[in-house]
């Protein structure tokens, strides 16, 4: 819970400030982008000067929130001055400083007040003011609270962006962060005019035939590993070229495997041009894949994590990671047997 004093402090800072920079993490998701867009319109409606400057390009799927590409900019050196002269920098949905990417140095060097809104458990308090609430389903929930407390002036653009924040970060209300509050806020957003079906199509429609053809290629590599407890797929550079799909098209592929009943962990290995192999890990809940990813310098959450294995071939990466995951699952099974509780192999 964020205290009333802290909220009031942020509201006072906004009132007396004029120039704002908003940013979010590298490879932004629907919550990062949605929170930025909502906050952009809120501040613009207050006649403030606002720019949204990110490290990464906006993923294609979220561009409908900024259709004329007039809101979100990519960082370049000449934008340093704006960042430096800002009164406030809002840092959104970021758990660690590193996730600022190219914005890291200019944000640190700026004399602006840095205000962080986040809902990650692992969040470091690295800003001047930190509004971190691990019980919030998304950063968008905190932006909703801010606007509600400030002037309750929700325009259609704000409502749409906040809905996308909550919809995508709760996985369409299926993850454990689908709370009473996330549904109550969503009810309000629908009351204010959101059309859920339209929003869903925008946020989740496959971007292209290329994407689904790439998924078909990936699925053709599907294998049962670790006595059927691991579902594994891979994507080669050749498949990418053949289908003409883009890197961002791969999003969601590994989650599809994670619904297989009998598995513990789903893995996706992607051959990355000149760099090595990217691994995505998903857990059904009994194995902490964040812990596993850390072994190779990766990270994420308990249920979802990733690793970038530099200069490691697809085949090597698969051998290494499958082995480690398999070992972990077997350990866990033995633990459960020893403690007399139900074995996960049941």
């Amino acid at each position: 819970m964020i205290s009333d004093e802290l909220w009031q402090q942020v509201i006072d800072y906004i009132k007396k400030s004029n120039q704002f920079t908003l940013t979010t993490h590298v490879n932004p998701d629907g919550d990062g982008i949605g929170s930025e867009i909502a906050l952009f319109y809120f501040l613009s409606n207050l006649k403030k000067k606002v720019r949204v400057i990110n490290h990464s390009l906006t993923p294609k799927v979220y561009r409908f929130l900024d259709p004329d590409l007039k809101i979100i900019e990519n960082f370049s050196k000449e934008k340093k001055e704006w960042i430096n002269k800002s009164d406030i920098i809002f840092i959104l949905d970021i758990s660690t400083k590193e996730r600022l990417g190219d914005l890291g140095v200019p944000v640190s060097e700026s004399s602006a007040i840095k205000i962080c809104f986040d809902h990650h458990a692992s969040s470091e308090a690295f800003s001047n003011i930190n509004l971190i609430d691990v019980n919030a389903c998304a950063t968008g929930e905190l932006i909703y609270d801010l606007i509600y407390k400030y002037n309750n002036a929700f325009t259609s653009e704000i409502v749409e962006a906040l809905y996308i924040s909550i919809l995508t970060d709760t996985g369409s209300f299926r993850f454990s962060n689908s709370t009473v509050r996330s549904h109550l806020i969503t009810a309000e957003l629908i009351r204010m005019g959101i059309k859920p079906r339209e929003m869903y199509e925008k946020a989740y429609e496959m971007s292209s035939w290329e994407k689904i053809f790439l998924f078909r290629e990936a699925l053709s590599t599907l294998s049962k590993e670790g006595d059927g407890k691991i579902a594994c797929m891979y994507i080669t550079q050749e498949m990418m070229e053949k289908t003409r799909a883009k890197r961002e098209d791969i999003e969601g592929f590994v989650d599809y495997l994670n619904v297989i009943k009998d598995i513990e962990v789903a893995l996706l290995f992607v051959e990355v041009f000149k760099r090595g192999t990217k691994v995505s890990l998903r857990s059904k809940g009994r194995i902490d894949v964040n812990e596993l990813a850390k072994i190779y310098g990766g990270g994420g959450h308990y249920h979802a994590a990733g690793i970038m294995m530099h200069n490691v071939s697809l085949k090597e990466a698969m051998n290494m990671v499958i082995n480690v995951v398999d070992k972990k699952i077997k350990e866990k099974m033995n633990e459960n047997k020893d403690s007399g509780s139900q074995s996960i192999s049941d």
Copy 2:
């Protein structure tokens, strides 16, 4: 909206009755099964004598609501007497009499008061008392209302079953029936103890490796038809045998295609042993697939419909249906051009 008088009438009937039969439509879905289970526990908790008797078996994915198979029974002749002697028969989530299947005759012949709860627009009022609300997201929403109005005594089994009703019938809150009210009720159900992640895994986990291997086979047949406006897949009997998947495993396959951005209609053709070809149609919103299905004696909704083409081979069915759908899309495109509005080919 259902009037207070009608609610009171139903409550009075329940109060003075002792023996109940509950049923739902052939090939029941999460809403049909969830509504039955919730109503079963509600009435049992009132110390009423209740049996749930269906035409079809409960799909595997919903059996967790009745894990010991002690609640839902399948119809057989010796159950006629129970149905006949019931004081009330609750007919749940059924829009037309035909969807009662084998229960049609015994229900009609029974001297019981028939009370129908439904939310389908096409619902025929064929019972003695009809509680039909097309604004309800699911029949489960009406069962929630009944229990709330009767005694507000929600037990964990009731809460779980109602959550499954709403979750599955709104497609995890993405269809247009995701209303303010469906979110407010869901917030209540979570407040009463529902764990969304667990529920989602139960309701949506792929039932088996067999299912995902069948999906891989189906996806390998994916073709672009009708100038890329139709996405089409098929499943042969050979694929079913090869993967050892079950008929019910096919559920959801066609919906996966329907997220492709550029299409208007997704089609799935399934070769059915000794019978012909089953066709599933999905629309992105501009084509009424219910209307198209009717041409071949099928039906459903605007966005989702099905046809059973008896004694028609897979190949013939594909030729016929793709042709008709393609023609309809072209007609629609020309209409839009003529009226000067934006063409759907844009």
